[in-house]
Amino acid sequence: MISSRSASLLIGLAALAGPFCLPAAAHAAEAGGAALDFELSDGRAFIRLADLPQRVTVVNFWRSDCPPCVREMPLLADTARQGPSQVVAIALQRPYETANAPGGVLAALQPPVRLLHGPSEPRGLLARFGNRAGALPYTVVLDAQRRTCARQTGEVTADWLNTAIHRCSRT
């Protein structure tokens, strides 16, 4: 007969021991692989990544209350203007919050940058694009076949972006 207190202690020990007892397995980080896709709103229609022009695509995940996200937005806008790659900015917030973003951000989000809004629950979308931890800003560069060839957690630099786009153009 196990007393209630003993049972509690056993459960507690089992709970603590669990994480140490199971073997850790190492898997290679997911990259490249199958063509990625999404179906997100631009405020007027649902846009599928697969329906966009087949060229190198910079996909940036951001929020307006994330300072590094806001800082890198002009660089992404310049990249979009210079071409030939296209830039998709996915706001992980409600359209209302985007509309209230600082003026500089709204100016950068004008075409040719394509502004989309993420789903209400964005973790599936983020994980699909290789960001299971949900850290922002997060940028993925896709080749023309929509396969990941570079990704960056944190603010991007012009050097990193140019190098990534150049590399993705060759794949």
């Binding site: 709970a15 994480p19 199971l22 850790a24 850290a135 603010e155 190098t163």
Partner: protein
């Protein structure tokens, strides 16, 4: 290939560098969003503990002006009104009694007995980022008494200077003013907020006795955020609350009502199954009329509340992990008048915490210690309406609890993050109930990027209090005999399956809760030796079990329109009256539409509540004022709310809303007042809305 992806352990560490209770924080140049929900729905946050999150924007969209309104009408979460003339409102998780829900602010538990009775309406919503709700015993590592779950209010660190003013006017004299300001400086920010909220008493059936309690409430708060002080990231908040509420008699003539203890100002013939005589009600045992002669005061409850509360936490990097200190303090005073009796309570609470989170190999370990102190000191007098004499009864429910505790938690991701485990155990040394161990195990299994499962098994404990609010009758007894030896304990098992796609998301959860030693107050006992009336404070002999499940599906119909459908179903197993003291439905269903396009935002919400087995919860000894039996089963009903907002420009918005559009209220079907077989009245026959259609509108200004 240039890849840089945060692994689960790294993400957990990142979260550790921010305050543990604050998942969405700046970490150098990275904001860890934890897959934060950005939508209108309470969907699971991407944490190992299933957590439903309600953002500040969602609070606005529902028109909520207080915490209890913000949390109501959600699957597995609701607000229970426990008294028709004082409107004690509790947050109910998994349909367990509201006292088993623990409220935290930035992860610091600073509410208990007195403050959860009337305090939840007075929680300041100014400057908050979101409200996280975790269902299940032990869902909070630092609040083992949360037998049903926890509600954590997370404050927001402003990144720029802000000013917000919100002015709302509504039916029934409702008036709500919210002001919030923030000033940022290099390395920190200061915030200030003020809120005034008032509402008239509402009498739906015309008998002169309110079903909705009137109130006037003022709340002020100051917050501070310092990003680096000796390596610590510091934040804190001071809140002050002052509230007056009165129900029963209409209006706000508090002193006049207290002085009115004779005559009959009410019309007992009004309302459904009203008495044949306006001056009293039928005694079911004799069929004769019992005249009411106790004036306005004899049917009224008046509660004045004063509360000061301070919380602060400091976090810094320590080695490869983090170090955290937290403090909390609350002083809560309640000055009450209950149908002639007086009760004044003074409660003090302290909370201290020191903890560290460190990686040990591939495992993230959190260890810490807490010290909790709370006391209650009361003075009171019981009014005898047959003699008109008051008897002093000071300190009848006094208590003093000291609870030092330690906790240990281990987190590890396996199979490249496909499976995540989180095991924890607490040990608390309670000064009355002794040592208590509370274990918990959580497992997150990512089936795919979009689909995952969460399993949780855990135990919590709560040191029960004999707090007056659970039974006003204790004041009329000479003492409380404490025949209670063990704390209340809850065993909880839960499973949740969630899917997060681009247009569709769903969450389904199953919950099993079994509460042992549920505390009971019986103020109808008699001392076998002296013959004096006493209160017995005992534990239920048999466990109370509540088992249920819920399913929520959200689908984006068009880029502008999103719909949510949800259903919950619960079963209640209990045999002792007074354990589950308030009726809960077996089934509820929810349907919601959210519209957002350009400057327009709209919300339409329908909540269907199924029948409640009133005899099971309230017993059969309940009668209307005309002597007929009360309903055995409540009718099912819909409550429909809608709200629209138009943004005039970046600074100005205007909004209009209607709650309970079709004006369904319980008093149209059955009074919340009732009498027992001997003709004694009570105010707790509650199963439906206590207020009908409520129309409100206002403007919002933001800088």
């Amino acid at each position: 290939m240039n890849t840089h992806a945060l692994r689960p352990l790294a993400a957990a560490l990142a979260l550790a560098f921010a305050l543990p209770a604050l998942a969405d924080k700046q970490l150098g140049d990275v904001t860890v969003s934890s897959g934060r929900s950005v939508g209108a729905k309470p969907v699971l946050r991407d944490e190992i503990v299933a957590t439903e999150s309600i953002g500040a924007r969602e609070l606005e969209k529902t028109g909520a002006t207080m915490l209890t309104e913000a949390l109501d009408k959600r699957p597995g979460i609701s607000v229970q009104t426990e008294c028709s003339i004082c409107n004690v409102r509790n947050v109910v998780l998994n349909n367990l009694p509201g006292r088993y829900t623990t409220l935290l602010i930035d992860g610091i538990p600073i509410f208990s007995s007195v403050s959860t009775a009337y305090g939840l309406d007075s929680v300041n919503l100014g400057g908050i980022e979101r409200i996280d709700i975790s269902r299940g015993a032990g869902s909070s590592l630092i609040a083992p008494e949360a037998l049903a779950g926890s509600v954590n209010i997370v404050t927001r660190r402003p990144l720029k200077d802000e000013f917000m003013a919100n002015q709302q006017f509504g039916s029934f004299g409702q008036w709500n003013t919210d002001l919030f300001g923030a000033k940022t400086f290099a390395g920190g920010a200061l915030t200030a907020n003020f809120s005034h909220n008032q509402h008239d008493t509402v009498d739906g059936d015309g008998n002169g006795v309110s079903e909705y309690t009137g109130f006037k409430r003022n709340m002020g708060g100051l917050g501070f955020f310092v990003d680096d002080i000796g390596g610590f990231k510091l934040r804190g908040r001071l809140d002050v609350v002052e509230e007056k509420r009165m129900g029963g008699a209409m209006g706000t003539d508090y002193s006049g009502v207290k002085a009115s203890m004779s005559g009959n100002p009410f019309d007992w013939s009004k309302g459904r199954n009203g008495s044949p005589d306006r001056n009293g009600w039928i005694d079911p045992s004799t069929g004769t009329v019992i005249p009411y002669t106790d004036g306005r005061g004899g049917m009224s409850e008046i509660i004045f509340t004063d509360r000061q509360q301070f919380i602060s936490s400091a976090t810094r990097k320590l080695g490869e992990g983090s170090l955290r200190f937290a403090v909390g303090y609350a002083k809560h005073k309640q000055d009450s008048f209950y149908e002639g009796s007086y009760y004044k309570a003074d409660q003090t609470q302290y909370y201290l915490e020191a903890s560290t989170q460190q990686p040990l190999g591939a495992t993230l370990v959190t260890a810490g210690t807490t010290y909790r102190y709370e006391d209650l000191s009361s003075v009171g007098s019981a009014y005898d309406n047959t003699t008109g004499v008051s008897t002093v009864n000071d300190g009848i429910d006094n208590y003093k609890y000291r609870t030092p505790g330690v906790f240990l938690q281990a987190y590890r991701a396996l199979l490249d993050g496909v499976v995540e485990l989180n095991g924890s155990v607490r040990y608390d040394q309670h000064n009355i109930f002794g040592g208590i161990t509370s274990p918990r195990l959580n497992v997150l299994w990512n089936h795919s990027h979009e689909l995952n499962s969460r399993f949780a098994i855990g135990r919590g404990f709560r040191a029960p209090t004999s707090f007056f609010e659970q039974d006003h009758g204790i004041l009329a007894t000479t003492r409380i005999v404490r025949n209670i030896k063990e704390a209340e304990t809850s065993d909880n098992l839960s499973y949740a399956l969630s899917y997060a796609g681009d247009r569709m998301a769903f969450v389904g959860s199953l919950n099993y809760n079994r509460i042992k030693n549920m505390a009971l107050l019986d103020s109808g006992a008699t001392d076998p030796v002296s013959g004096q009336p006493i209160t017995l404070f005992t534990s239920a002999h048999k466990p109370v079990t509540v088992v249920g499940g819920d399913l929520t599906v959200t689908y984006k119909l068009t880029p502008q329109l999103e719909t949510t459908a949800a259903v919950e179903h619960f079963k209640y197993r209990f045999s002792e009256m007074g354990t589950l003291a308030f009726a809960r439905p077996e089934t509820r269903a929810y349907l919601r539409l959210d519209y957002e396009a350009g400057p327009w935002t709209g919300m339409l919400r329908g909540t269907w509540t199924g029948p409640m087995d009133l005899d099971k919860f309230y017993g059969t000894d309940r009668y209307n004022f005309d002597g007929t039996r009360k309903l055995s089963k409540s009718p099912s009903y819909w409550v429909v709310d809608l709200r629209g907002e138009y943004r005039l420009n970046k600074q100005w918005s205007t909004f209009l809303g209607i709650d309970n559009v079709f004006d369904f209220k319980q008093s149209d079907k059955e009074s919340m007042l009732w009498v027992d077989g001997t003709g004694s009245f009570d105010v707790t026959n509650i199963w439906g809305p206590n207020r009908g259609r409520f129309i409100y509108g206002g403007v919002k200004f933001t800088l």
